[in-house]
């Protein structure tokens, strides 16, 4: 009982304070504010209402730019004189225009045995048979297109030509390497693509006596993501 009286007293006290405070927000609530009408003619004739509309400020979400393509590939690489073996690697591309893109790739393979090594039985030419390469290339989407699977599915594709420079580390030496080839990009969605890529890697090597230019042909299948 006592507490109820206390609450009642408090409510009365607070409302009285608000009403008498002259607070701009509350004085009209109790009809206590000064009722001074604006003097006639104070506003410019013709302008009855002063516009108080604030310009909408909207924080626009940024547009997602997806010009980079990152992925991995695996396939077969034929190392001249050393047989063919599995190659795998990674690539990063930047699409500069709808036609041109630049690509950096690294790859690794293992050299097999030369026919000499196989026939002679024991003699081994190399201890470290790992081949690694990197290259920086410029590609051009020469034949963009679409393929249709069944009646209701269409996928975007690109046939591209690509060429570039880099280095191959093989037989304990780094060699200046030129690469060129063509590839087929199959876009499963707008951000996910499959690649079928054929590349020739050329470099000069004198491992087997005389210096010659070798062609290492490579065929790979890859998957990339645009981001």
């Amino acid at each position: 009982m006592e507490s109820r009286i206390r609450v009642l007293f408090l409510v009365t006290a607070v409302s009285a304070t608000i009403a008498l405070s002259g607070c701009a927000a509350t004085r009209d609530l109790f009809g206590l504010g000064p009722r001074e009408a604006p003097p006639p003619g104070a506003e410019a004739p013709g302008q009855v209402i002063e516009p108080e509309v604030e310009r909408r400020r909207i924080k626009e979400p940024a547009i997602d730019r997806e010009d980079f393509e990152l992925g991995a590939f695996a396939g077969i690489m034929s190392i001249e004189d050393f047989g063919s073996d599995v190659v795998y690697g990674a690539r990063l591309a930047y699409h500069v225009t709808e036609g041109f893109f630049v690509e950096a790739a690294v790859g690794q393979s293992e050299a097999g045995e030369t026919s000499f090594e196989v026939l002679s039985g024991g003699a081994r030419l190399l201890d470290d048979r790992k081949l690694t390469y990197y290259n920086l290339s410029l590609g051009y989407n020469i034949l963009p297109g679409e393929v249709f699977i069944g009646e209701g599915r269409a996928f975007n594709t690109n046939l591209y030509l690509i060429a570039g420079l880099g280095s191959t580390r093989f037989a304990d030496d780094d060699r200046f390497t030129v690469n060129f080839g063509a590839g087929y990009r199959f876009l499963l969605t707008d951000t996910l693509a499959l690649h079928l890529d054929f590349r020739d890697h050329l470099y000069d090597i004198d491992l087997l006596g005389e210096e010659k230019t070798v062609h290492n042909l490579e065929a790979t299948l890859g998957i990339t993501v645009f981001f």
């Binding site: 310009r55 909408r56 909207i58 626009e60 979400p61 940024a62 547009i63 997602d64 730019r65 997806e66 010009d67 990152l70 992925g71 991995a72 795998y88 690697g89 990674a90 930047y94 699409h95 500069v96 225009t97 709808e98 041109f100 630049v102 690294v106 690794q108 470290d128 790992k130 690694t132 990197y134 920086l136 410029l138 989407n141 963009p144 297109g145 679409e146 269409a154 975007n156 570039g164 420079l165 880099g166 280095s167 580390r169 304990d172 030496d173 780094d174 060699r175 200046f176 969605t189 707008d190 951000t191 996910l192 998957i223 993501v225 645009f226 981001f227």
Partner: protein, 268 residues
Amino acid sequence: MSAPSTTTIPSPSRNKSGWLACLAVLLPVLLLQAYLPGQVLAAERQYRKVSVADPYLEMHTGPGRGYPVFHVVDRGENVEIIMRRTDWFLLRTAKGDEGWVDLGQMELTLQPDGSAVDFSRATREDFTNARWEAGVLAGDFGGANIVSVYGSYSLNPHVAVELWGSQILGNFSNGWTASLNVVHETWPDWRVSPFFTLGAGYIHTEPKSTIVQGEDRGDQIGHAGAGLRIYATRRFLLRAEYKSYVVFTSRDDNEEVEEWKVGFAFFF
């Protein structure tokens, strides 16, 4: 050599295989992260909305001029911008149709507050004023092949700072260099813009073991040079340059090396 000294770089083959193994593990994770959440969160994500101010907007089936137009959005309709790839935009209409629209038409759309949208388009002006530039060059370094990459930051249209990394692949020795340059362009607004450069850096050479049993060497280098930046198209430029290097060797004589390179670069 008995024990690896602190100055020699670790064997690149060992380095690369570790790197590749890391990538092999990381990539599937990255693929999942990049792809799956995108699909799952697609409904929650907020996209930029614009309304069509042109009489109509042509939607192509792919991000390229050759892809056929399959849908037309009328004036006044609202569309969402899902993503941008080069100069193409993937849009979604209120009905849910998705298609690609080129930059030229996108420039005629309006934001919700009625103002035009500012889409960045690479032009000759950006060739002069863009802050960042990156490129790949190759050529001849004192008789050896050289492959270089560089990144550049412009302090103003005339002066830029560049960081270079190169691999040198010769008949008798291999090596790499890293250097920091200052580039001055006298007439940056010309389509073919000449520049002068000064820089310093470090060169590491490894004689080929099959020919001579030499030691790996690291030396400081200084260089001066000149070249041309040539605006090609959009974000592309061609670059050709000559540099004269002085290698401050630990022997009595300094070595002088001449270098010629050509390549391409893009600015952003």
